[in-house]
């Protein structure tokens, strides 16, 4: 069976800066795959490159075994949706929640718009009272939930999730993670998910890639990470840092 998503030797260069230096990975149909690593290591760039939003200079992206060309058409976005890292930049502040959810439906020619909007709001735990608020009138976490609703509303088969819950408090985070797992099993979705929280990645993903400086450090299973069966020092440092802050002098 071919992978739902396959990336081969992907390279991205911004004005002479090599943000991705040849990264490969493949995600099986229905799998949830994690990306962790240093800030600035190219995780968002990798997702953006898949979505056709980064200057790829080399390498290939394939969806369901078919190579994706340089442009991305409507059919691609019907299949692949992305939740961006900063919900502030990705949602127009002067648009109402209603309009933000309606737009993708209209672009893709859906008809049962009303029912879909209500269901999408309900799924992410925002009551219909939020429907006519402007996105600048929402808290950080409320905005992120709108962004997730907007990605799910088109019923894509592949979701690219860039730190989907880093703006959420623990209780809403648990609800959103449960929702994501639920839709993944209901609809057989495939996830590629970036998170700096190792607990979230081991909870949500089967396998993951650790990245640093535009490159893969190591590739491992979530259970190996949880069991600390890791081979690289950088991964070990991440695990140690996950244990929390240690005051000077008490270390």
């Amino acid at each position: 069976m071919s992978a739902a998503l396959a990336i081969e030797g992907l390279r991205v260069v911004y004005d002479g800066h090599h943000a991705l230096k040849g990264v490969s990975l493949d995600v099986a149909q229905g799998e949830s795959y994690g990306l962790v690593g240093e800030s600035g290591s190219g995780k968002s760039t990798l997702l953006r490159a898949i979505a056709g939003l980064a200057p790829v200079t080399e390498g290939e992206v394939s969806v369901d075994g078919e190579r994706v060309g340089p442009g991305r058409d409507k059919a691609f976005y019907r299949k692949v949706q992305m939740v961006f890292q900063d919900p502030y930049g990705s949602l127009h502040p002067r648009h109402t929640v209603d309009r933000l959810l309606l737009e993708p439906l209209a672009i893709h020619g859906f008809t049962d718009i009303e029912a879909r909007i209500l269901r999408a709001l309900d799924e992410v735990g925002l009551g219909s009272g939020f429907r006519f608020r402007y996105s600048h009138q929402l808290s950080g976490g409320q905005r992120q939930r709108v962004a997730i609703a907007r990605a799910l509303i088109l019923e894509p088969s592949i979701l690219l999730l860039d730190e989907p819950t880093s703006a959420l408090d623990a209780s809403v985070q648990a609800e959103v993670l449960n929702l994501l797992e639920q839709v993944r099993s209901d609809r057989g979705l495939t996830f590629l998910m970036v998170s700096h929280d190792l607990a979230i990645v081991t909870h949500m993903c089967e396998r993951l890639t650790v990245m640093q400086n535009g490159q893969e450090v190591e590739r491992l299973s979530a259970s190996d990470l949880a069991a600390r069966t890791v081979t690289k020092d950088y991964t070990r440092n991440l695990l140690t840092a996950s244990e929390g802050f240690v005051r000077e002098g008490s270390a």
Binding site: S39, E181, A241, V246
Partner: protein
């Protein structure tokens, strides 16, 4: 401990099309030269509390308080000019949405330099050196490359650190940090916390640390305030967070994923209407 800030009965209301949103409904606390954590549900009023102290409440909102006092200054009754002078120089806030809050048409480095020059008489070359040193202090690799980048050209965590650098460079007495490390990988996160820790311990800065990362708050802060629906429902020493009494706080602790724990689905909160009274 010297008291830096007194907040007594703070309220923030927003009139909207579908009625008044009571974002903050009578919040009271004091802050000395310490690390005070604020945790709480999304939408519970954490950011609006910070913004009110900083003087960044949106113009259409109604704000009131019995007292809102910073170092002897009544913040609700201070001339606009003096308020502006306080902001940045003596009170600074790391906003939750750093990339959105940075000026999109000015390079990162120039924004830091301008902040510095607004508060200190200092030559261009020296300002540049100090800005670069600050970017390095917040663990940005290739600081001289990043200096010339625009906000849309940096990663989420780099934008967050640029904002931190900009707020720290003026040496504020009170820093409100709203989810300052939410976009950072864990190793960089600890480096940033170590910087904040030293500013409080060595320089006597007061720090309000808003975060949803309970593990981080309990290991980093001295005290914690727990907010729910615009109010404080519990206040306790950070080290005691694991023994919190309020059912909301207990529920919050229980629903975090843990490495190696296999809980599918994660437990969620059963919110009780009486928590919001």
């Amino acid at each position: 401990m010297t008291r830096l800030l007194t907040v007594d009965g703070l309220k923030v209301d927003f009139p909207t099309r579908s009625g008044v949103v009571e974002a903050v409904r009578g919040v009271s606390f004091t802050l000395g030269r310490e690390r005070l954590g604020i945790v709480g549900e999304s939408g519970s009023g954490k950011s609006q509390t910070g913004r009110a102290i900083m003087g960044l409440t949106p113009a259409n909102a109604r704000i009131s308080a019995e007292r809102l006092n910073f170092s002897g200054i009544d913040l609700l009754d201070v001339p606009a000019r003096q308020r502006r002078d306080l902001r940045g120089k003596r009170i600074a806030m790391i906003l939750q949405d750093p990339k959105y809050s940075l000026n999109p048409v000015m390079s990162i480095g120039r924004q830091i330099v301008e902040t510095l020059r607004a508060h200190e008489t200092i030559g261009r070359a020296e300002a540049r050196d100090r800005a670069l040193a600050m970017l390095e202090a917040v663990q940005i690799r290739e600081a001289s490359r990043v200096f010339d980048l625009y906000p849309h050209e940096v990663s989420g965590g780099m934008g967050q650190r640029a904002m931190i650098a900009m707020m720290l460079i003026a040496g504020p007495e009170l820093l409100i940090a709203d989810e300052p490390t939410s976009a950072l990988d864990v190793t960089v996160q600890l480096e940033i916390l170590a910087i904040l820790y030293r500013l409080v311990a060595d320089r006597g800065m007061g720090l309000i640390f808003i975060s949803h990362d309970l593990g981080l708050v309990s290991s980093f802060c001295d005290r914690v305030i727990v907010m729910y629906a615009g109010r404080i429902v519990e206040e306790l020493p950070a080290s005691e967070l694991a023994n919190a009494e309020h059912p909301y706080t207990r529920g919050l602790l229980n629903c975090m994923p843990r490495i190696g724990a296999d809980r599918h689905p994660l437990p969620v909160l059963d919110r009780k209407p009486e928590w919001a009274l």
